[in-house]
Amino acid sequence: MNESGSLLLYAMLLVPACSATLLAFFPDTKATGRLNALATFLTFLASTSLFFVRPEPGPFLIVDDVNVVFIVLNTFVGFTTSVFSASYISHELDTERLTPVYLRFYHAMYQTLMFAMNLALLSNNVGLMWVSVEMATLTTVLMVGIYRTPAALEAAWKYFILGSVGIALALFGTILVYLAARSAVGEGLDAMAWNVLVKHAAAFDPHLLNLAFVFLLLGYGTKVGLAPLHAWLPDAHAEGPTPISAVLSGLLLNVALFAVLRFKMIMSANPGTLASGPLMVTLGLISVLFAAFMLYRRHDIKRMFAYSSIEHMGIITFAFGMGGPLANFAGLLHMTYHSLTKSAIFFSVGHIAQIKGTQQMSEIRGLTVSHPVLGWGLVLGVMAIVGLPPMGIFMSEFLIITSTFASHPVLAVALGLGILVALGALLLRLNGLAFGEPYGNAAPAQASFIPMFSHLALVLAAGIYLPPALVSWFQHVARLLG
């Protein structure tokens, strides 16, 4: 039982690692997209089996109830994005925005990114998690700059410097956590292992943990894209290839948030520490309000949805900061729905920008008339992301606001205001994008619609009916998060 479990565990890391090497040298440009999708599909299969077999935690890798949710979501969106990426990237090749060499590089980096994100989620060691988050950052930096236009290089550079500073702060926090643990656990690998840290957290020095958490929250918070540390995020989303925007918004932000949550669990296991919740609530609320108002001034379609990601990461951080079984449950749901919805939106935006040859919203009009499938897909996606019923996000936002209202009405009002302001901005823009007289290139779309609509269908279905088994699973995880 356990042997097959650890085999699956290694499969989730080895499949992306080997495919990265293979795809780096694979010459056939037609097949690489499909191979990429196949590799991510195998990884996804391996991850779903973690529901049934649970390997023993080792010194470096661990599967527990908390990270399974993140891993399955990560590999699923990774798989659907690779299907979208196959059709997106062949168009880039046709229009010669990418050469075959860059294509190989792109696919190798895609798999490396999947490897790094899986490793970050699976790691039982805080140092290993730091290294893998860093690796994920570097691969995305390289992909953001892949078009090598001045704007793309600028975006990659900005992301690189801000990401590196964030990651440096996170490492200092990690060192402090080790120091706090050393006196209680003893030197060596145990003092960096999750399961050991959480078990012994009550005996750690609370002052050291407080200081460590501030560094970790600021460091990994930079990667989550929380305001005021978000400056890299809109540029990176706007200038890179759209599949990468989808993976960044849908997955990498979650991975960074997961790191914060793990450390929050250690903090809450120690009675002497500062409450970590208010810090997260503050950062989350600032992000929501800031991003909501910034949404009105956007002209670039991908940049606009990047700001919407800042808003939603703010909402999720807010929910986890409030804590308690209900808010955590809502936060987990919201995170899942946001990943699915935002990547679906980027799938449609990617094709739209390719057809129209621009990302300026002033030059995109009347999509539902000229490209009904893409246009209505975008309409559905935006309706889901702003939180209109019956889509899933309505339910999770409703839960977050009502659970907050019971304890802190003022905070709930502020959050509600942010959500409404963002809704106004996005619907305003959507009206121009989707309806009215078509404008610009009306060539039919050669797109794969399956990833987009499968995500939207999942979000819709979850908004109408959430299976009891899933509910109790999420509730269980929410209780663990404290």
Binding site: V131, M135, I175
Partner: protein, 220 residues
């Protein structure tokens, strides 16, 4: 641990903070590179000394990486890049040198006041090194925000990294220190390659595309 071992460790860590101050007030590009090489040399000596007194031979690898990569290869490479790109003029600073130095002194005081009380149980060596390394990290951040030029921002980042390595070696018995220092070297190497290949712009505090110097003549 005997008195001498402690004093030498203290000397190196304190020296690192001093060299960080020298980075803060240096306003010539080549001078900055030389001082950064000195910074890396001090950190590598400090790590080597820790390896010796902690009987942790793997730390010698970290010290070696710091010496070879950061004290020799990176400064030489940056020197050549600066000459090639013709950007060897004085470094623009935001605010005066005097104000920056005052802010730096404040940061050192802050990090000592923050670290010393909370690490009371950690042993003299660890707590002093941690206080100094936090000071180096904060001074590096100060340098990154007070310089407008990409190369000096990178040097600021690398000095932060030196501070982190000092902290990691001071946390006695911490696993993965070597791996982490290798990971950091990869970042640094990428940054330097980034400047060289992409001719990274002088300024990136603005997203204004017109501020870019277009070496490549438009879109590639």
């Amino acid at each position: 641990m005997d008195r001498l071992a402690l004093d030498v460790a203290h000397l190196f860590a304190g020296g690192l903070v001093l060299v960080s101050f020298m980075l803060l007030y240096q306003d010539r590009m080549f001078g900055l590179l030389n001082i950064f090489a000195l910074h890396a040399l001090v950190v590598s000596l400090s790590v080597a000394w820790q390896a010796y007194i902690q009987h942790a031979p793997h730390l010698y690898i970290t010290a070696g990486i710091a010496l070879v990569v950061k004290a020799i290869i990176i400064p030489v490479a940056l020197h050549r890049i600066i000459v090639r790109l013709g950007i060897h003029r004085n470094v623009e600073t935001v605010g005066g040198i005097g104000m920056t130095m005052l802010a730096g002194i404040g940061l050192v005081a802050l990090s000592i006041m923050v670290m010393l009380p909370i690490t009371a149980e950690a042993g003299t060596l660890t707590r002093e090194d941690l206080a100094f390394s936090l000071a180096v990290i904060l001074l590096g951040l100060l340098m990154m925000i007070s310089r407008r030029n990409a190369v000096s921002q990178i040097i600021g980042f690398m000095s932060i990294e030196n501070g982190l390595i000092l902290a990691a070696t001071a946390a006695k018995g911490m696993p993965l220190v070597v791996e982490i220092s290798v990971a950091f070297s990869i970042i640094v190497a990428l940054i330097v390659v980034g400047i060289f290949l992409f001719r990274i712009r002088e300024r990136f505090d603005t997203m204004d595309v017109h501020a870019l110097e277009q070496f490549r003549g438009g879109h590639a």
